[in-house]
C-alpha cells in the first residue's frame, strides 16, 4: 500500500476534521492532495504530533481529531502512547504510517523493519483498540471502524517506503499555525 493512496482513501473524511500530521513526507503528501485550514503539519518536532493531538482532543472533546504519525516518530515518543492510553480521548484516531523507515531523511530502516510491532506496543501501552492494515481495503475498513467506535484507536498502516521528491512546500510553518488556530477558534 502506498501512503499517498491511503491518504486519498480517507481524504474526504479528513476534509472537515481536525488533523495533525508529522513532518516531511506525510505533510507534503497530504498537501499535494489538498491543504485545508484544519490541517496542521508539525514539522521537525519528532514524536510530538500525538501529544499535540492529545492536547487538542482533551480540550475540544466536541471535535474529532485525527493524528497522522510515522514509525520513526512514534519510536521517539513511546511513552506518549502510554499517556494517550491513560487519558483515552475517545475523539482521537491515531494513524501510524509504518514504512519501516526514516523516509524523510534518507530512508534508513527503523526497528519496525526487524520486527518491532507498533500496534502490539500500543496495545501493551493500554490502547484498547488497535489494528494493523496491510492493504488499502484493510486500512479503509480499520479507519471507518475506528470512527464508528468513537474510541481512541491506533491504526498501524504498513506502507511502502516511498514518498514525494521534495518535502518543502509553499506553505510556511507559521502561516499554517495561525490559520489552524483561527480555524479552531471558530468551530
Amino acid at each position: 500500500m502506498k501512503r499517498l493512496d491511503a491518504l486519498r482513501a480517507i481524504y474526504s473524511f479528513l476534509e472537515d476534521r481536525v488533523v495533525v500530521t508529522i513532518m516531511g513526507a506525510v505533510a507534503a503528501e497530504l498537501q499535494s492532495i489538498g491543504h485545508r485550514a484544519n490541517f496542521f503539519y508539525l514539522q521537525h518536532a519528532m514524536g510530538l504530533a500525538s501529544s499535540m493531538g492529545l492536547g487538542i482532543a482533551l480540550t475540544r472533546p466536541d471535535r474529532q481529531v485525527i493524528v497522522l504519525d510515522g514509525d520513526g516518530s512514534v519510536l521517539m515518543n513511546l511513552g506518549g502512547l502510554t499517556t494517550l492510553a491513560r487519558y483515552r480521548p475517545r475523539n482521537l484516531v491515531h494513524v501510524v504510517f509504518d514504512n519501516e523507515s526514516l523516509l524523510s531523511v534518507g530512508g534508513f530502516p527503523t526497528a519496525t523493519s526487524t520486527g518491532t510491532d507498533l500496534a502490539a506496543i500500543a496495545a501493551a501501552a493500554g490502547v484498547r483498540r488497535t489494528a494493523t492494515a496491510r492493504t488499502l481495503d484493510e486500512f479503509r475498513g480499520a479507519f471507518d471502524e475506528a470512527i464508528a467506535a468513537r474510541d481512541l484507536t491506533t491504526i498501524v498502516a504498513k506502507v511502502d517506503a516511498v514518498g514525494p521528491s521534495k518535502y518543502v512546500t509553499e506553505l510556511s510553518l507559521l502561516e499554517n499555525r495561525f490559520a489552524f488556530q483561527r480555524y479552531l477558534a471558530i468551530i
Partner: protein, 173 residues
C-alpha cells in the same frame, strides 16, 4: 509530614487558577507533590500525568491552538529532557508555554544527584533565550505568575518560573 510547603503550593496553585489555567501537565517530583494533588482534586483542572516532560510541550501546544490556557509542572531535569520539544515545537511555532520548573540543585541542596542539573539550568534558559524569573518568596508569587503568563502570551514564546527552595521547602538550612 513532608517539609514541602502546603501553604506556598496553594499560593502557586491559586495563582495559576487566577490566570485561567485549565490544563496542567505534570511529571511529579518531591517539591511538586501538593501541586499535583491540588490539580488532581480540582474538577475544573485537566491534569495530564506524563511519562516524559517533553510530551507536555506538545500537549500545551495543542491546548493553546485549541484556545485553552495551560501550564507545565516539572523539575529542572524535566526541562533538560524537554529541550528539543521546546525548540522544535514551541519556539519554531511560536507557542506560549508557561513552565513552572522546580529548581533543584541550587544552594542548600543535599541530594548529590541534583547538583549537576542545578548548575546548568540558568545557563540553558539563557542560551535558549527563555525569559525566566524566580519564585522564592510568597509575596510575589501571584504577581510573577501573572506577569510570566502575560509575557508568554504577548511574545508567543516559552517562559519559565524557577520554583526555589526558599519557597517550596519548609525545613531550615
Amino acid at each position: 509530614m513532608s517539609p514541602v510547603s502546603t501553604i506556598h503550593s496553594r499560593l502557586i496553585y491559586d495563582a495559576l487558577k487566577a490566570c485561567h489555567i485549565r490544563l496542567l501537565s505534570a511529571l511529579p517530583e518531591t517539591w511538586l507533590v501538593h501541586l499535583v494533588r491540588m490539580a488532581d482534586e480540582d474538577p475544573e483542572m485537566t491534569l495530564v500525568r506524563l511519562a516524559k516532560e517533553e510530551e507536555g510541550v506538545g500537549i500545551s501546544a495543542g491546548a493553546h491552538l485549541a484556545g485553552v490556557k495551560s501550564a507545565m509542572l516539572m523539575q529542572n531535569h524535566g526541562f533538560l529532557a524537554s529541550i528539543n520539544g521546546i525548540v522544535s515545537c514551541a519556539q519554531l511555532y511560536r507557542i506560549p508555554l508557561l513552565m513552572l520548573v522546580s529548581y533543584r540543585g541550587e544552594f542548600g541542596e543535599r541530594d548529590p544527584w541534583q547538583t549537576e542539573g542545578g548548575a546548568v539550568t540558568e545557563d540553558l534558559l539563557r542560551a535558549l533565550r527563555i525569559p525566566f524569573s524566580y519564585l522564592d518568596h510568597p509575596d510575589h508569587v501571584a504577581r510573577r505568575i501573572a506577569k510570566a503568563q502575560t509575557l508568554a502570551l504577548a511574545a508567543n514564546k516559552p517562559v519559565a518560573l524557577l520554583l526555589c527552595r526558599d519557597l517550596m521547602w519548609e525545613e531550615g538550612g
